[in-house]
Symmetry: D2
Subunit: 306 residues, 4 copies
């Protein structure tokens, strides 16, 4: 079945203690491993060892991990990657803590993506036998899991193609200049399963290798407000929302972690499906696509990538 | 028991047809009476003849109506008004369509407030016998009723005193410059019953006689999003929200009607009570008081009064 | 202004430790005072010293306290009570801990109601200066305050009259046998302010002196589900809901405390007003009035009073 | 990628006019085709020609359709089906209106399942170019799409195996007698993608060929209440809910269509994933699994299959 999902996001933060406080006390992720300079965290509803890695030293994304279903999928992706023409290298078990061997790929947008088939299983906080619907001891926002990442690129068309051809993702939504220029993606939302987007891409000068944001999943619109209330209590800067995207219909707040990495809490997008006609957004409607309710875009939105 | 509530808001609109379309199709109020230049509307969960009056010719508030419990309350308020020292005049039954006799008062901030004890009873859209919880044929936002109005004033202290002394309102919340200047209101939220505020006041140069906004009540945070979605579909300009106020804790969107009058959809503030300690906001926390979640205030917020 | 609200509910519980655990860990009320056999609690959004009193020894209601606005209101209610013809006695400051002097009234349904004008002010958990919208350390359901009580009676008509004539409450809703017998209340919902009901009455043989339930206020439908999830985790028996009442439109769960006292979490009823036409329910529609969604009533609903 | 999703449910109804009224006016599905005895409907957020087929004559399920990604998948499933040992027959384009050729399979539980790769594309009601988040003219519940079906069986183990081996579904949750009898499924929830369950199975004597329910997807807990309110207005009998399942965490109401087919409105289950450890429910916790909040099961729940 190939790529299951975005498995981890490994980012830089300027101050590891401050970041740890933010991701545990505000976001509510669990600290799984802490070796001083690098910290591993997971959400309460995730079962693998970690999904967020924080590494001290600056801001921005170091790499993303995508989990595949079986060890054989690694070879398949390696072969397809080489045919496609991206740089790859094998990675060994343990290069990433508690993570199997796999493949490291340099995307045309120069992001590093790692593909792996296994990670130490910790189980979710509610367990797998007659589980409660959430754990009693949630902290802050209490985010259950990560959701997706939006990567920048100077020219995203090739990377878009990489995800459809090598990862077998399909095009869920796409931003184009206008209906006469449907082949030029300005932004692209791609999924392997039904979760709206497993990756998204946005085009802009100097965007190569940069992260627009990565997102935490929340259940619904009510959780979005709750997240916003916690952000207010913890002085977290908000860029957009609470609102709803036209694109994906997700309910959203964009905000920044203490290092300046943009994050999102994301809830309630529709269920994407492989045979659903791709939704097209034209550039003149971008504000509605991003912030359906207010139809306003802040100046920082398309410029502040890290 | 004196003043029950804000009963009607009578405003100016630049184009009566456009306004009618907005208040019926977007807000979802019912058209009760239309004499060409003036239009009377009510919400589905209101029983009196009308609560919103639109009159062609400009923008801004013409007058507000406050309903009292009994005819005797009119005399009582007249007497107290004269003691207080505001200009009043008696008004006759029928001066306002379907409305009893009453008293017209010029506030120190020069707004016209009418007090009346009776209005033609139309009943709510669900009736009073084994009613359904809402009518099946809601349109647009489907707002059930009006909620409150925020009036501007060059110097609101005397008008604040008018509402507590003559209308027997109590101070629910108050904005002051800082904790050393508690006696200088910059803004004030006042109630007679438990509904957060029956009137609010905001101070600013040139604000006399002006309206900051009047509000429609909605049930909850979910209805706020639904209202925002309808506003997006109908190209209604949004100034703030969806968000939550720190002040009153209400969930909110501020937006403008086609004439430029600011309106609000307001839900879920706490239950105000006469013995609740007045909540004090200091000017440095105003942004959090108005938009608790984002802590941002648009430039227009404290300037665009009509 | 007379009676402000239901101020406290003083009930019996079979096991004080078990009850303390339930009301603090499940309901999320704060323990204010504990003298071994009697426990005083308050909600995070209440400012007076206590609103729930638990006393070991059985099950059922000992008394209710209603707070009035001013000391003079006590005399006024005493006079009206004597005219009405109910038994009263003066109570001294301190007879109830941290509570002013007042008046003790025996209702025609034989319930004890105390009227008081002051209680030690503790303040809410968010304070009154630039407050957050909720405290960060909520436990369990995190109920902010009590809401109302429903009292039983063999013949409620006189007690209904007591509340309208002596407490100056008005009739918000009323259950009657059918439209030909509008003067015979089977149940009655009465309010002084805008909060749906400050007291309700239900008629039945052997109901005198008994409590049907008292309620905790929650914000909205989402909080009702959250309360239900916590009840599930804590093995709290649920009798009805999550659902919505037709009567008052409140969202609701009825459940039992460990002693067997019926409680309710109640959210989002409409804003009651003194001039709103009384809503009439006929007995054949009672199921819809109580559980609008399912239109089912459990057998215990009208029988299990304590 | 094999099976995409449950594409259509074809059921019997006793009265076609009554059923049409129910599925269009209460559920809010769109009537796509009506040939007198058979009616085809789709949800506003579905793009294929139909997802619900109603045929006059009794009650119960006639067949289910599962859509596959490509024509080649049909052959693949045919081959695997034959290896597995179930009866299959080829079906031609047009045997089902607006539906491609495909394969008809008789499950071990004797249900008829059709697999197809294409259907006339009508598009969703919001279109695919700069779409609004919902259409303005929703009716009743306004359900966007179908979700899943729960099939009965005298012995479901083989059918469970069919779905994992032939359809490549994975086990999301499973009900077993107890932890010592993990290999005996009493009920089973299976998915191909991330949508909680694409099919579920429940075991019971005489269940072969029967339908427990099929479900409509709703967005969230608030939509569940709204659906319940509409059901109340339209006298739709409710069996369970509004509540939340422990199993799948979905928010739910079970109700009956006018013919007696059980339906569900289902919202907000977690995002299922192929590598998520299967959740196990033991029979003693079934009530919590089905109705997490109340932990009550009606007698009809496990008996009323059609």
């Amino acid at each position: 079945m190939g790529v299951i999902r975005l498995g981890y996001v490994h980012i830089r933060v300027t101050d590891i203690e401050e970041a740890k406080r933010h991701y545990t006390q505000t976001v509510g992720f669990r600290l799984v491993k802490d070796d001083g300079k690098t910290v591993y965290l997971k959400g309460w509803d995730e079962w693998d060892h970690h999904s967020v890695v924080l590494e001290e030293g600056g801001v921005g994304v170091i790499k993303l991990g995508y989990k595949v279903n079986r060890a054989e999928d690694i070879e398949d992706i390696e072969r397809k990657s080489q045919t496609f023409g991206v740089t790859t290298e094998r990675m060994s078990k343990g290069e990433n803590t508690d993570t199997s061997d796999g493949l490291r790929i340099i995307l045309p947008t120069s992001h590093v993506v790692e593909v792996y088939h296994d990670m130490t299983l910790l189980g979710s906080d509610v367990g797998a036998i007659n589980p409660d619907v959430f754990p009693r001891d949630l902290i802050g926002i209490g985010a259950p899991r990560i959701d997706h990442a939006l990567l920048g690129g100077d020219n995203i068309a090739t990377t878009e193609k990489f995800f459809t051809e090598v990862f077998d993702f399909y095009q869920v939504e796409r931003l184009v200049p206008d209906l006469d220029h449907m082949d030029t993606p300005l932004a692209s939302w791609l999924a392997g399963g039904n979760r709206g987007h497993d990756v998204a891409l946005i085009q802009g000068d100097g965007y190569d290798g940069k992260l627009h944001h990565f997102a935490f999943h929340l259940q619904d619109w009510n959780d979005i407000l709750h997240a916003g209330q916690i952000m207010a209590m913890d002085d977290v800067p908000i860029e957009l929302g609470p609102s709803q995207h036209g694109i994906t219909r997700g309910r959203t707040i964009y905000y920044f972690d203490p290092a300046g990495n943009r994050n999102e809490v994301f809830a309630d997008g529709y269920v994407a499906q492989r045979d659903r006609p791709t939704t097209i957004w034209t550039a003149d409607k971008l504000a509605k696509g991003i912030d359906y309710v207010t139809r306003n875009l802040s100046e920082t939105f398309a410029t502040a990538l890290t």
